[in-house]
């Protein structure tokens, strides 16, 4: 069972109170971009064993989207942060590096 802290309510919300939103920090390629870039944006997703960044929505709570960094193997949560960020904040990256020294960073 995954428990994520909603950065808007401050609540430790149970997985069943949340809705998953897939990979975080996607860069959108829209009209005018190359077919390859658009295909990548539309279909190609990271699926790592280990550190992963995800979008979640507190759908049965405050209804806000937020982002979470967690380990897909151990379900360890490194931190959650507001959705209005294009890159993981330094505090989250520090928390990950403290616990996963061999992590190579986001692909």
């Amino acid at each position: 069972m995954l428990i994520l802290t909603c950065p808007y309510c401050g609540l430790a919300a149970d997985e069943t109170e949340l809705s998953p939103g897939g990979e975080a920090h996607l860069k959108r390629f829209g009209p005018g971009s190359s077919d390859d870039a658009f295909t990548g944006y539309l279909f190609h997703r990271e699926n790592p064993r280990g550190v992963h960044f995800e979008r979640w929505r507190h759908s049965n709570g405050c209804g806000k989207w937020f982002l979470a960094a967690r380990c897909t193997v151990t379900l360890e949560v490194f931190g959650t942060y507001p959705a209005q960020t294009t890159e993981p904040p330094a505090a989250i990256l520090d928390a990950i590096r403290a616990k996963r020294p061999d992590w190579e960073g986001r692909a």
Binding site: D14, N60, G61, C62
Partner: protein, 180 residues
């Protein structure tokens, strides 16, 4: 805790309650002042309720409040809120007909909710004054405790029958878990 013959709590569907949903930038001082003047209640802190479930303000999200008032007064209140917030980015809408309110009353109130919601209902963790939006079995709901034995729960009216059924079932006599 209650004995094997009495229900953990009684579940009552309350008569229609006036509710106005209000969305605006709650961090803005002008907005807060306008809301407090129009409703007569202080803007609640995160996850809390000011006033009561009959006349008060409940925190729904960082930019949303639920205004409780008389059913007949709700449309006029939505209008006066919209007037008070003119010029500000906002939404004030009478949503009274969209929701149903239940009163859950009895010594086993914490147990009834703990059976249905992923919420730590332990005394000291959750108590009167806090408003919690969560999942009640399979539907969205919000509730707050008015006292240690009295809880008010709001859900969408379209699922009111379901909510009443699961609440009544969770409160059945002889089903006390004895957690709290």
């Amino acid at each position: 805790m209650s004995d094997a013959m009495t229900a953990l709590a009684t579940v009552t569907l309350l008569p229609p309650q006036g509710m106005v949903t209000l969305r605006a930038d709650l961090g803005d001082a002008t907005v807060r002042a306008a809301i407090e003047t129009a409703t007569g209640h202080a803007v609640p802190d995160t996850r809390s309720i000011t006033g009561t479930g009959e006349a008060g303000l409940g925190w729904m999200s960082p930019d949303e409040l639920m205004v409780f008032t008389d059913r007949e007064a709700a449309p006029a209140l939505a209008g006066s809120l919209a007037e008070a917030l003119a010029g500000q980015h906002h939404l004030a809408l009478d949503v009274s007909d969209a929701r149903a309110v239940f009163l859950v009353e009895g010594p086993g109130v914490r147990e009834v909710i703990a059976k249905l919601c992923p919420v730590d209902m332990a005394p000291g963790v959750f108590g009167p004054g806090e408003l919690r939006r969560t999942r009640l079995a399979q539907v969205a709901a919000a509730f707050w405790m008015e006292s240690e034995t009295r809880l008010r729960l709001v859900c969408f009216r379209s699922v009111a029958r379901y909510a009443e059924d699961v609440l009544t079932n969770a409160a059945r006599p002889g089903t006390a878990v004895g957690l709290f």
